[in-house]
């Protein structure tokens, strides 16, 4: 029996070595990233490949921008009209909000509160997006050198994208809100309802807003923003809009389906809050 096994072990030494090496690298990687440190193996592989991938990704985006109208035609025209209407509406809202901000700042001054500093945002290009069909992750071209660290918030102008979960000197991996491993504390943004829950991804284009109490006041059309609970994201970052609400089994709570404001399939650049 022994004499039959030994030649096989010798014969398949490479397979055994690489299987063991893979397991060891995996365990080591998990430990290093859990501590928020850089994995030199990832840094090395990305150091070689990230730049050409970024160029190709940029070239494909440019090509898509040049030829997209060929495929979208009328839809593009309708979208333009819709966006113009939306922009006019938002300009009105922005003016009202600026007015409210002025009043708010004046009242805070009167009450002696300190002003919150506006956080610095760092623009980043996407190097690779959803390269594995099973995971909703991004690789961006900003890393430790730019001050990005694990759990840095990533957003667009419209709303929250996700958080950084791995960094190398020149790149960072982002876990998008839609990934099934993502969970963000959320709050209903309505004056008479401040219900709090957790927005969880499920690898689809919608989020599940879970753990709401059964008496939570939430309805379709409500905006969901980050609650700030958990300490990863600052409060008030826009997540999405409630599409539907249903009671959980046994009526112990409610779950809402949330449509994110960010169009994850059309992301081209993002902002990182280091």
């Amino acid at each position: 029996m022994r004499s039959e096994k030994t030649p096989n072990v010798r014969r398949y030494w490479a397979a055994l070595t690489f299987l063991i090496l893979g397991a060891l690298i995996g365990v080591w990687h998990n430990r290093v990233t859990a501590r928020g440190q850089q994995d030199p193996v990832v840094s090395l592989v990305r150091g070689v490949l990230a730049r050409p991938v970024g160029w190709l990704h940029g070239a494909s985006q440019w090509f898509g921008a040049q030829t997209g109208w060929l495929f979208r035609g009328r839809a593009l025209d309708a979208e333009n009209r819709r966006l113009r209407d939306r922009m006019a509406q938002l300009e009105g809202e922005a003016a009202a909000l600026r007015e409210a901000q002025v009043n708010y700042d004046r009242l805070r001054d009167d009450l002696g509160f300190a002003h919150a500093n506006t956080p610095r945002l760092l623009a980043a290009d996407i190097t690779a997006r959803k390269t594995d069909p099973k995971f909703d992750t991004l690789v961006i071209n900003r890393g430790v050198r730019d001050g990005v660290r694990v759990n840095s918030m990533v957003r667009t102008r419209s709303g929250l994208v996700g958080r950084v979960f791995e960094v190398t000197p020149g790149t960072a991996s982002v876990l998008m809100l839609t990934d099934q491993k993502s969970g963000v504390g959320g709050r209903v943004q309505r004056a008479n309802s401040r219900s709090v829950g957790v927005c969880e991804g499920n690898n689809s284009s919608r989020l599940d807003f879970r753990y709401l109490p059964s008496e939570a006041d939430i309805k379709p059309g409500d905006l969901i923003v980050t609650s700030g609970l958990g300490g990863v994201f600052p409060p008030g970052q826009l997540i999405g809009t409630v599409e539907s609400v249903k009671a959980d089994e046994g009526n112990v709570g409610k779950t809402a389906v949330v449509r994110p404001v960010v169009e994850f399939d059309r992301l081209e650049e993002v902002y990182v809050q280091p």
């Binding site: 014969r11 690489f18 990687h29 050409p52 991938v53 069909p133 099973k134 995971f135 979960f165």
Partner: protein, 167 residues
């Protein structure tokens, strides 16, 4: 340059091109939510032109590239393990059971994609089983469609493993 060295170089070039295509364009190649795993399909077909050890090295390389760019928290080692094992299996079978052919390439890519994703699932369980199954199913179908053209390209680029394969 000796034939084995030339073959190794050609394999490396094939994998590098597949990696660049996968990383830069996979999202753009999405059809109704289905995305291909060109890197894995290339590795599985390339393993047919190696032997078992070569397959393991290929699988490890592909798993490493994939994991470095796409692994979610906790999934790094599982990607390495599943890719290495499946590509080793393809190389091992090639040594014992079959010789390369287009039909086999289609079967191997289909089964290999599904098997490597199942191995991944076993070592890194996913929370939403249905979403995972749908994603794996559509990727497997996509890879099935890509398998034959990829096989023809790789066979032309790498050449047959043995002289007797040319019958």
């Amino acid at each position: 340059m000796t034939p084995p060295v030339r073959r190794a170089l050609r394999l490396s070039v094939a994998l590098l091109v597949a990696a660049l295509v996968q990383l830069a364009f996979a999202d753009y190649l999405s059809l109704r939510g289905a995305r291909p795993d060109i890197l894995l399909a290339t590795a599985l077909i390339s393993s047919m032109f190696c032997e078992a050890n070569g397959g393991a090295v290929l699988g490890f390389s592909v798993g490493l590239i994939h994991a470095c760019f796409a692994a979610p928290p906790g999934g790094f080692g599982s990607l390495l393990f599943s890719r290495t094992l499946v590509c080793f299996g393809v190389g091992w079978l090639e040594e014992r059971i079959y010789r390369d052919s287009g039909l086999l390439a289609v079967v191997l890519v289909t089964l290999g994609t599904a098997l490597s994703e199942c191995l991944f699932f076993v070592s890194a369980p996913q929370r939403h089983l249905l979403h995972w199954a749908r994603s794996v199913g559509t990727t497997t179908l996509y890879n099935l469609v890509l398998a034959y053209p990829l096989y023809l390209l790789l066979r032309r680029w790498l050449g047959p493993l043995r002289e007797r394969d040319t019958y």
